[in-house]
Symmetry: C2
Subunit: 433 residues, 2 copies
């Protein structure tokens, strides 16, 4: 044994739950997986690393300071920062073999080496589902991705609302005021509207030398929100720009598909911009109902071409994602999940006297009957073991004493009520069913 | 769009399954998880990185060439190469809060930057379960870890055999021939016996200047194998060394606990050495029955002190692990799993004519009734869609035509038999139950 001890600590900003929380978190993941499978999406589990050449293709090889990069021997690789680049790499590699539209989901950890702060992790769970077409892809795909949210949040017993817009409408409005060449700058400002408010937005737009009339159109636009009938009417009042009308037509079709899919919890909201440049059609974000102020817990949209850095084939797609670590944080903060979500259903078996052999056989029998259990086999006193069971949140304790064995029965203690009964094995099994 | 394309390729030696295989693999993981939970182990999901100081504590900070290491800003961290060091770090951090014995499992990827070759990955799945005691830990824990194998392989419909030894017996034998100071060199040679055979083993032992008599004892020892009665008799013939006898006593107790736990598929085998120096008591390996020649698919053992680099508390433990990527490879090579394990149970819904809206409502209804399905909504011909469904391995296709809608029925095609029937929604649901 050595004398100098190293202070045990976790890498700052990395995600690590207590085992009881982890159990709740893994249940959430399992439920989400089930929804994806029900929608006939298949799982893809790409490596945690991609070659730097692949991962940095978008940036022309420039190293983003947020990226964890390794050079080891001849390998120059980075930790993935999202699942979209790995998907693009995968689809480009396999495009000859895949059946399109290709539907895959991926749930796992991604890495961003940013300064850790509240609600921002360097390692966190992300959950993505995408539908990739070959040359073209019906708007049904957009509706299906949006519909996943309602199914997922229903499965989790949570209410959500999806807010939908379309980048063509945004482009059309900006084009209609003659500012198409400054589309990026303007949309970046509008994207902040919710956060910074009207006054600050106006100030930033003025700084771009937009006149009052143009600013008014943009601010009117960003406030348009409602069902399809409402936004259609209000948008057409603003402009009849061709791209804008095209965007409206797309939303109309998506609205129709969503109705056919019995999706209810959605609204159109022109305030949904989505910063990423690669979105080219529908864009959407999802919020927890009654917790809109916590911000979006996921989002996604339509892109023209998934893999243009790796393939000359046109692969349009639409994707939805959920920030799982962020969602879990919000659920804990808002008490939507709490300790009660972790119910320790294990049975603890405590020997009283020399009954360890019988306790072990009992545990084996119970497990074969599908009951999770453990024998408290350590050297502690009976009383300490009861305390341990209590600390672990165990609801049912089975006490195996010599008297009980003679009577072919077990003392079963309900840890909540303190009630204790002498039961046969069959009665225990029935109790747990 | 850019013209120069980057060749899409995966980092060499990293694990990536096709989605259909991934589904089978994830089912295996889920089944293993269920066994751990039934044994009251809780999940722990540590970060993929640990500070280098922590990860390299064992080697005194020396960088192993197999380790992926980053330096980013002030962070000096490595990718985990196993789950034991992260467990030690976690338990040392939380030792005041945990209830001992602490039982946790972890299933995930670990990283070794070795030269990739057949059956050796740089990123692969590992599965560990450990029981950690505080100051002391009953041998019941060893039996419970061993019993996990039988439960897990039963759950996977596979036959396994666990082979068990004890490092104290090995030490005792070597001590009994007066070679205790060369314990490490000798056990390293004996560890290779299975691989290199008797002749080569003898040669290596001779190179250590061991005489004929000593070599004979070691070779007799390494061949001792059987139930407890058999090995007990044969070991005591070799030596009455005190440490050896202590090891036998431990195996006797573990044997008794295993019997009480109704574990059948195990044997004692002195050939099980386990290279790792930190094992101090029972050691074991697990093999697929009828595929012993493929090598162990997992192993583990007892260690005296989990976290001696991080804590002055004595934390003895016992752990079992399964090399999941390796196991999956073997299952595929031996045809124990194959394409048939992936049964595509999704229903494909194909519109015939202008019935897309009705197809979408049908899909939503089916999913609510728990049936996985997808609408083949793309622009292809009806015939191409049938082909796609076939390529995906879909068993059931529902064709929604206008005539069918009038009759309030659906054409249901069995893709294996080609049979097609006109069924009501209720009949479809019943068909799938």
């Amino acid at each position: 044994m050595q004398d100098k001890k190293i202070l045990p600590r976790k890498v700052t900003g990395f995600w690590e739950l207590e085992p009881e929380q982890e159990l709740v978190f893994e249940n959430i993941i399992q439920k989400i997986k089930n929804v994806f499978l029900r929608h006939a999406f298949l799982p893809l589990d790409t490596p945690v690393m991609e070659y730097s050449e692949i991962l940095l293709a978008k940036s022309g090889g420039e190293i983003d300071k947020q990226i964890y990069r390794f050079e080891k021997g001849s390998t120059d690789a980075c930790l993935r920062y999202d699942f979209t680049v790995p998907l693009a790499r995968y689809v480009a590699m396999k495009e000859g073999e895949l059946t399109f539209p290709f539907k895959r989901f991926q749930i796992g950890k991604v890495y961003r080496g940013e300064r850790p702060q509240k609600g921002r992790y360097r390692e966190f769970y992300q959950c993505d589902a995408d539908i990739i077409g070959n040359e073209n892809l019906s708007l049904v795909a957009d509706a299906e991705c949006i519909s996943l949210y309602e199914d997922i949040f229903n499965e989790l017993n949570l209410d959500c609302q999806v807010e939908i817009s379309n980048r063509k409408i945004l482009y059309g409005v900006i084009e209609s005021i003659g500012e198409a060449n400054r589309f990026q700058e303007i949309s970046t400002i509008l994207d902040k509207y919710e956060k910074i408010g009207e006054e600050e937005t106006l100030k930033l737009l003025f700084e771009l030398n937009l006149d009052n009339k143009k600013c008014k159109i943009l601010l009117d636009f960003i406030k348009i929100k409602g069902n399809f009938g409402e936004i259609n009417k209000n948008l057409l009042k603003l402009s009849k720009n061709q791209t804008l009308v095209e965007g409206i037509e797309e939303l109309k079709e998506v609205d129709q598909h969503l109705k056919n899919l019995s999706v209810n919890n959605y609204i159109f909201n022109m305030n949904i911009i989505r910063g990423h440049n690669y979105y080219t059609g529908c864009v959407f974000e999802v919020f927890l109902k009654d917790h809109h102020n916590m911000g979006a817990v996921g989002g996604g949209g339509r892109y023209d071409n998934l893999a243009n850095y790796f393939s000359s084939k046109k692969l349009p797609g639409v994707g939805m994602s959920i920030g799982l670590s962020r969602l879990f944080d919000i659920l804990q903060q808002t008490d939507l999940i709490n300790k009660q979500n972790y119910q320790n259903n294990n049975v603890a078996i405590i020997p009283l006297g020399d009954t360890l052999p019988q306790c072990l056989s009992l545990s084996s029998k119970l497990r074969k009957d599908g009951i999770s259990c453990e024998v408290l086999f350590n050297d502690k006193s009976f009383k300490s073991k009861l305390k341990d069971a209590n600390k672990k949140g165990v609801q049912t304790v089975i006490i195996v004493g010599e008297n009980e064995l003679k009577a072919l029965k077990y003392s079963v203690k309900n840890m909540s009520t303190g009630e204790q009964n002498l039961l046969t094995y069959e009665e225990i099994i029935n109790l747990r069913r």
